[in-house]
């Protein structure tokens, strides 16, 4: 029993590391751009399929493909976000919400047109898991945990130790004051989208490395990603990290009592309960 619980916790941490990358980006963009970007999970799909194109379609090695895939996703994702969310003459979060739904529909179905609906996989060799007592992990899974950890630490240093980080935190607190004190708000938003797309694309590639790629791979995670961000207090990147870890492990544990097909429903239940009882999230937030 204890062994099973440890095993579930490790799987939960793996899921949590992917959720965290996505939820931290979502929270950051919500704080700075001030709307819930429904197309956010599709940045994962963008990173995964860009890598797939180099890795499988062109046949290059996975690590080269991943680097190029991230670069491609950055160019495409930032261009889309900048055009759709910054440059269009829209006012208010409701219009941006509907625009982001439109962006999500377009991204997913363009991917469907190009790559088809059949689940795909990266061309990487199968691995035998290493065993440490009850813990079994493949090299890819260890790489997932390490990469996610390093990126999250990177975001932490960026937000706390750099000028850009200070500007982004200030924009989340008070955009008007930020603008009148001479901050180039447009450029800061552009940098924010780059960080957000980078986190999403890496999460998507890691997801593809451990599971399979599908045009709907991001969209299918929309409930857990938003649940993690809301649990942590949406707008707060640190909360999103805590929310993702809590939710990832809790979802795996829930399979002990609830059939695993209902995991998304558990995530939805967590989100609804959190909004009912403590809408600011378990870990503070605005």
């Amino acid at each position: 029993m204890l062994e099973h619980l440890v095993h579930l916790s490790v799987t939960g941490l793996l899921i949590a590391s992917l959720l965290a990358l996505a939820a931290v980006g979502l929270s950051l963009s919500f704080g700075v751009a001030r709307f819930a970007n429904v197309a956010h999970p599709d940045f994962m799909m963008l990173g995964a399929y860009a890598t797939f194109a180099y890795n499988v379609v062109l046949g290059w090695s996975f690590w080269v493909a991943a680097a190029l895939g991230i670069a491609t996703a950055l160019v495409l994702g930032v261009a889309v976000a900048w055009l759709a969310f910054d440059k269009l003459p829209v006012t208010g979060n409701v219009q941006l919400l509907v625009v982001s739904i439109g962006v999500s529909f377009v991204l997913r179905h363009v991917a469907l047109l190009i790559f088809g609906a059949t689940p795909a996989q990266f061309a990487v060799p199968l691995q035998r898991p290493g065993v440490w007592g009850p813990v079994r992990l493949t090299v890819n899974q260890i790489a997932t945990l390490v990469v996610a950890g390093v990126l999250i630490l990177g975001v932490h240093f960026l937000l706390t130790r750099t000028r850009l980080g200070r500007i982004l935190r200030a924009m989340a607190d008070n955009p008007m004051l930020c603008q009148v004190s001479g901050v180039d708000v447009d450029r800061a938003r552009l940098a924010m989208w780059a960080i957000v797309v980078l986190l999403g694309a890496v999460a998507g590639i890691l997801f593809g490395l451990n599971l399979v790629l599908q045009p709907n791979m991001g969209w299918d995670l929309i409930i857990p990603i938003f649940a993690a961000a809301i649990l942590g207090g949406i707008g707060s990147p640190y909360g999103a990290l805590a929310g993702a870890v809590t939710l990832g492990v809790a979802l795996e544990w829930s399979t002990l009592v609830i059939p695993f097909q209902y995991k998304e429903m558990v995530a939805f239940g967590v989100m609804a309960l959190c909004l009912l009882i403590r809408p600011r999230g378990l870990f503070g937030g605005r």
Binding site: V38, Q95, V99, G102, S104, F105, I230, E264, A272
Partner: protein, 292 residues
């Protein structure tokens, strides 16, 4: 040809109920409901399962409405006090949760196979003219819903709902119970969506989870935006126009023989996405009529 026009007219009338419901929620009250398909699915499945089990149509439809209103109250209570973003995400999440439940709870819903053999009412009375009789029924329902929504919009209740939409703080300061009015509008929209789903299930005579994807919700959003949110006549006209355009893409395969079903379906979805963006931004139509 007549059959085809009749089918289009029936589909339009079913969709009109759904769009009118959404219009009462967003156009009138400002509720950003991204999960309208959930209530449509609840109506369709409840009615389908009950009638297949032998329950008469009217109690089955009423059960669907009851369940949809109950669900709307639960979803509404947890987020209608918060900002639009929360409500939008929670309703979207709810609709996906309902679809996953339909897909996975094989014991209740028969899973991906769905429910077939849903009886079509009036078939006994109109042998040989079933399609026409059913269209008459659906058209009558759509007309009744239109009149009710129009009355609602012009009534003092409608005025209060618009006040809640335009400035909920001011409405609250004047003693309006904003949450209660939002729940009312949400529940009324869920009622219409549930009836729309019931009519759909009995029209196509089978239900599967794939009929209840978020696509349905955003078809309704597009129809509402085309017709200008807040206008009931606009909702009707927008729905008829959208059904005509989207259904005509079925003929695209005759013009471009290289297209297969997947390409066509993906193309439609891309069109919906672009349509939503362009109408929102350049149509200037997402501000409900009369809103500042």
């Amino acid at each position: 040809m007549i059959d085809y026009v009749l089918a289009l007219a029936t589909i339009s009338a079913v969709q009109i109920l759904l769009v009118l419901g959404l219009n009462c929620q967003f156009g009138l009250t400002g509720l950003v409901n991204f999960g309208q398909v959930a209530f449509y699915a609840i109506g369709a499945y409840t009615s389908a399962l009950l009638t297949v089990a032998g329950v008469p149509t009217i109690p089955a439809a009423a059960a669907g409405v009851g369940l949809a209103v109950l669900a709307s109250a639960l979803v509404g209570l947890s987020t209608l006090r918060l900002g639009e973003d929360y409500f939008a995400i929670l309703t979207l999440g709810f609709s996906e949760t309902v679809r996953l439940f339909l897909l996975n709870a094989r014991g209740v819903t028969n899973g991906p196979i769905g429910v077939s053999g849903v009886p079509r009412p009036l078939a006994r009375f109109a042998a040989g003219h079933e399609a026409l009789a059913y269209f008459a029924l659906v058209a009558l329902a759509a007309l009744a819903a239109f009149v009710l929504c129009q009355v609602l919009a012009k009534s003092p209740l409608g005025r209060t709902l618009r006040a809640v939409r335009d400035d909920d703080q001011a409405a609250m300061a004047l003693g309006t119970d904003v949450l209660a009015f939002r729940l009312t509008a949400f529940g009324w929209g869920a009622t219409l969506a549930s009836l729309s789903g019931t009519l759909w299930a009995h029209y196509v005579t089978y239900v599967v989870p794939d009929q209840f994807t978020p696509e349905v919700t955003f078809y309704a959003w597009m129809a509402m935006i085309i017709g200008r949110p807040g206008s009931m006549i606009g909702a009707v006209a927008g729905t008829v126009g959208l059904v005509a355009v989207l259904e005509s893409t079925r003929f695209a395969r005759d013009v471009f023989p290289g297209l297969d079903a997947i390409h066509l379906a993906a193309g439609r979805q891309i069109a919906i996405g672009l349509g939503l963006i362009l109408l929102t931004v350049y149509g200037g139509r997402l501000k409900p009529r009369g809103a500042r």
